[in-house]
């Protein structure tokens, strides 16, 4: 291994200072579950690496009606928080216990598809990300953070420091479909957040993983169902539209054709799950 220096800043200002000093050659690492395998294989050969583990970015806090998640909070911490059920469920369906103890929520936003399962849930929840650099900070919607396959809006001298999740979101559902039940890359991941008023869908967010160059929203499927009641014809319409508009890829896990089919199947099942949850709630209320 050729690493000359492993830098472990103790605060965010120190981390940003180190990034400014060393420039884009400095490899930033949080939990290391994506970066370390590449270093171990010799695919990535950084000279300097900076760890964010001790930079004070690990808290998860409810502030008013926003859940603030430090970029370096672990996936295990996300499983344990009980403010947003969709996020615990997504985290529980990511990797394995040991990897969740190491891997971070922030790191998940940088993981190329078919990874990024937590990011899919965050997209459905309309999360925003706070980026910080030597010249200040900015907050942008997660949807605007992604710009392409393994590219994003982060400038070379910036770090992702926090993720904000609005907590009042109506109904949600999450399904990750892989070749195994656990610790498996996604064939497709679906996260849905719906709001309904007077029996009709007033707002819909349908987020897809492993169905594009990064986690994506199925915007046409969303538009196709807003204003309608959540019934079987409408669910079929959402599923077909999402399957049509997604941009899946082929890898060792699945072909493009199969992924597109499964987007349809799992958007349908996720919407049916919302209906089932509602029936359970009504049942309990009686």
């Amino acid at each position: 291994m050729t690493v000359l220096e492993y830098l472990v800043p103790r605060s965010l200002p120190e981390a940003i200072g180190l990034l400014e000093r060393h420039g884009p050659e400095l490899l930033v690492m949080a939990g290391g579950t994506v970066a370390m395998p590449l270093i171990n294989e010799g695919i990535s050969l950084p000279e300097r690496v900076m760890s964010l583990r001790s930079a004070g970015l690990t808290s998860i806090e409810q502030r008013g009606d926003v859940l603030s998640i430090g970029a370096a909070a672990t996936l295990t911490q996300l499983v344990a928080q009980d403010g947003v059920a969709l996020l615990s469920e997504a985290a529980r369906n990511t990797a394995s216990w040991s990897i969740r103890n190491m891997g971070t929520v922030g790191g998940n936003l940088f993981t190329p598809p078919p990874g990024g399962d937590v990011a899919v849930a965050l997209l459905a929840l309309d999360a925003r990300v706070r980026l910080s650099g030597p010249h200040g900070e900015r907050v942008l919607p997660l949807a605007d953070f992604y710009t392409g396959f393994m590219t994003n809006a982060l400038a070379a001298d910036e770090l992702l420091v926090e993720i904000y999740v609005p907590t009042a979101v109506g109904e949600t559902a999450f399904i990750k479909f892989g070749r195994k039940h656990a610790n498996t890359p996604a064939v497709v991941t679906v996260a849905i957040a719906l709001q309904r008023r007077d029996g009709r869908i007033s707002a819909a967010r349908i987020a897809l993983g492993a169905a594009g160059p990064h986690p994506i929203r199925a915007a046409r499927a969303e538009a196709a169902i807003v204003g309608s009641a959540l019934e079987s014809g409408v669910i079929e319409r959402a599923a077909d539209t999402a399957a049509g508009e997604c941009r899946p890829f082929r890898d060792a896990i699945a072909t493009e054709w199969y992924r597109r089919r499964m987007v349809g199947v799992f958007v349908r099942r996720a919407l049916e799950k919302v209906v089932e949850q509602e029936q359970d709630d009504v049942g309990e209320g009686e």
Binding site: V8, N40, E41, S96
Partner: protein
């Protein structure tokens, strides 16, 4: 930049190692300290054969720069094994035939210890979930699950004994 000295607590004893930057905990344990229960399967985080406990929580030592455990408690199979005899979990693995080649066993046992530490009476599903990151090519997993259930029962009946 040259080597540096890192201190951590390994199985209750403080150890000091001189390492090049970003040497993995796995490499330090196996090649500097001779703790060969820590296996080197994939070095990708995918097999679990290198699992150790850091402050009681399972982690993949192949993905962990040793600098990250400075000052922390690290536990490997060596520390779980009593000076004489076997730990209850080891005994249960033996009784249930929970290993064949044994390559996955150190990782399986440290995960079992961590699970039972958090949750003394895990359900079958909780056991299965805990092992999601540990691959076994030999046993088909059923005897491993049975061993953890057996170890949990053994602890429960011991706890129930008067005196």
């Amino acid at each position: 930049m040259g080597s540096k000295i890192i201190t951590f607590v390994l199985g209750g004893r403080e150890v000091e190692v001189m390492v090049k930057p970003m040497t993995t905990l796995q490499a330090v344990l196996r090649y500097q300290l001779g703790y060969t229960a820590v296996k080197e399967g994939c070095r990708q985080g995918g097999c679990g054969s290198c699992t150790v406990l850091v402050e009681g929580e399972p982690m993949m030592s192949c993905l962990l720069p040793v600098e990250d455990v400075a000052g922390m408690h690290v536990t490997t199979l060596e520390a779980i094994t009593p000076a004489d005899g076997l730990d209850r979990v080891q005994q249960a693995f033996l009784e249930h035939g929970a290993f064949q080649c044994g390559y996955c066993t150190p990782g399986m046992i440290v995960v079992s210890k961590a699970l039972l530490g958090h949750n003394p009476r895990p359900t079958r599903q909780e056991i299965v979930d805990a092992f999601a990151g540990n691959i076994c090519r030999c046993t088909g997993y059923e005897p491993i699950i049975a061993a953890v259930e057996g170890a949990a029962r053994a602890s429960a009946s011991k706890a129930a004994q008067p005196g």
